[in-house]
């Protein structure tokens, strides 16, 4: 479903702020894979998702979604294949527009925007049913401006918008990190439910190792712009947080050793 081949990206090349964010990411996702991604700050997790989404062009490599090479497509054209939920609850929705208008925009992802009415009565009924799944009472507030919702509600709505039109690939960029624990659990539960129901292929970045183990069928760890650990199926389900911590220490320990060798 997704194929990343040798993705490289350097920000601010040739300046003092040069940052080699991705140094060769290879990843193949099969249909129905639900991958959780962990890694320290600056490991390249979000950068990888942004590369797939086309926020900026990559320096090197190929991105193939469902057999289509999208490496050179602009962000808005790739949106056809992708559902995205961001870390910041403000990013995924249009605050000055109503809940139903936001949903209507999302349901037309990948379609040309014509002079037909932006939303119709049949859609409204459908959105009501969909909003019920979130269990936040939003189904009775279709014409409320999204800016009046809480962060958790906006994030749940963004999740719904990302999956309203079945995406080839769902990209979740720490979408529960900015929420309080209770709301985060609720949004995560809704995420699981929707992914299972629609049999979606998904990538979820998280800082929470427990979540990374508990969700999905595959787990990858990133470090310094590359994937250093990739585990799936039976092996993944036997993982413990301590295993991941050990793995983390191992990587950063190596790095430490390298630094020492350099000094010597």
């Amino acid at each position: 479903m997704l194929k990343l081949i040798g993705i490289k990206k350097t920000f601010n090349p040739g300046t003092v702020n040069e940052k080699r964010a991705l140094v060769g990411v290879d990843l193949t996702l099969n249909e129905g894979d639900f991958v959780t991604v962990i890694g320290g700050n600056g490991a390249g997790k979000s950068t990888t998702l942004n590369a797939i989404a086309g926020v900026w062009p990559v320096d090197e490599g190929e991105i193939i979604i469902d057999g289509v090479n999208v490496t050179r497509l602009p962000e808005y054209k790739r949106a056809k294949y992708l559902g995205r939920v961001f870390q910041d609850p403000m990013t995924g929705t249009a605050a000055s527009m109503q809940i139903e208008e936001n949903l209507a925009l999302a349901s037309r992802r990948g379609l040309p925007r014509t002079l037909k009415s932006g939303i119709n009565a049949a859609e409204r009924e459908r959105y009501k049913d969909k909003l019920k799944i979130l269990d936040l009472g939003l189904e009775d507030r279709l014409t409320t401006k999204v800016g009046l919702l809480s962060g958790g509600q906006r994030q749940a709505l963004t999740l719904l918008m990302a999956t309203l039109k079945k995406p080839k690939l769902l990209l979740l960029d720490e979408h529960t990190a900015a929420l309080d624990p209770k709301t985060a659990a609720k949004v995560l539960e809704a995420t699981d439910k929707i992914i299972a129901r629609d049999n979606l292929t998904a990538i979820m970045i998280t800082h929470n190792m427990k979540d990374a183990i508990a969700h999905g069928n595959r787990l990858i760890m990133m470090h310094e712009g590359r994937i250093i650990y990739d585990v799936s199926g039976e092996e993944k389900s036997r993982l413990h947080v301590s295993d991941l911590l050990q793995k983390f220490e191992q990587v950063s320990g190596d790095e430490f050793a390298n630094d020492r060798m350099m000094l010597a």
């Binding site: 990013t91 249009a94 527009m97 925009l105 002079l115 939303i119």
Partner: protein
């Protein structure tokens, strides 16, 4: 100071205010919906009039001249839009560049003269300051412009409810989200700028007919008048105007109030040369109020009782 002369001036101020209301609705599209400050309008506020007057002087019909004014305005918006999106020039600067270029173009359209007159007695003008009093209602300038305003609001109300209109609104509200939902934000910004400048040019064409001439400087400071109308409308009617059509109507009303106040301060004896300074001051104050309110007048709640 004779109260009669003030009252005499009011219908004219209303008509002029309504014409500027159309212009302000154009500004509303860029400033409020697209969240762009577009200074192109200072140029298009002359271009529309120039195109319309020169075409009518050379024998074209009124509808054709008005439509051409609208189209040329859209073209100016297209230039600003391309400079901004495809060339990466900040929106304000892109607008200033187009506006500056338009000054020369406006002079070219007007065959090198700084102004061109058109006489209502010899040409079938749709509005004129001569048709304010003592004419049948269908000829009355206020009535005619009012029809324009109502039709424009109705069309915009429909348009911004369509898929395309919603995409433009989403682009202004949250460009990141829009791209994630497959909306070509660059294209939508261009479309919004074109629509806005088309309306401004149409207002310009009406204003030139109303005053009986087009002047190369008639658009100077137009953006400030447009913003003033938008802000006055929002401050006075914002609480009642929840519906989009009412919001646009509030902008038009804001423009009328602006002109009525203007007429009033002139009547009080203000030097007409000081008007622009007054307008700039008023708009600056109204733009600053929300910021200052937030900074100095936000009430900080006293600590919760639970921690005492």
């Amino acid at each position: 100071m004779n109260i009669g002369s003030l009252i005499n001036a009011l219908p004219g101020a209303c008509a002029q205010g309504l014409i500027w209301g159309i212009m302000a609705i154009g500004v509303y599209i860029t400033y409020k919906i697209l969240d762009l400050a577009d200074l192109t309008v200072d140029g298009t506020m002359c271009t529309g009039g120039a195109v319309c007057v020169m075409m009518m002087l050379s024998g074209h019909s009124l509808p054709v001249s008005l439509i051409c004014a609208f189209l040329v305005g859209m073209l100016a918006g297209l230039v600003t839009g391309v400079l901004h999106t495809a060339m990466g020039i900040p929106a304000i600067l892109a607008g200033i560049l187009t506006q500056l270029g338009l000054y020369s173009i406006n002079l070219r359209i007007m065959l090198g003269k700084a102004n061109q007159a058109i006489n209502v007695n010899n040409y079938p003008l749709i509005v004129s300051l001569r048709n304010i009093r003592g004419v049948p209602i269908y000829k009355n300038a206020i009535f005619v412009v009012l029809i324009f305003v109502v039709v424009i609001i109705a069309i915009l109300y429909w348009f911004f409810g369509t898929e395309l209109g919603c995409a433009i609104r989403a682009t202004g509200s949250n460009p990141n989200m829009s791209r994630a939902q497959g909306i070509n934000t660059d294209l939508n910004k261009i479309l919004g700028l074109m629509l806005s400048n088309g309306l401004v040019a149409l207002a310009s064409a009406l204003l030139a007919q109303y005053q009986g001439f087009v002047d190369v400087n008639m658009g100077r400071g137009a953006i400030v008048i447009g913003l003033a109308a938008v802000i006055i409308g929002q401050v006075l009617f914002g609480k009642f105007a929840r519906n989009f059509a009412f919001k646009l109507a509030a902008v038009a009303l804001g423009a009328i109030i602006y002109y009525l106040v203007l007429q009033f301060v002139l009547w009080l004896g203000l030097n007409a040369n000081d008007l622009k300074l007054l307008s700039a001051t008023v708009v600056a104050i109204f733009l600053a109020i929300p910021y200052l309110k937030k900074k100095y007048f936000t009430k900080v709640k006293k600590g919760g009782s639970g921690n005492a």
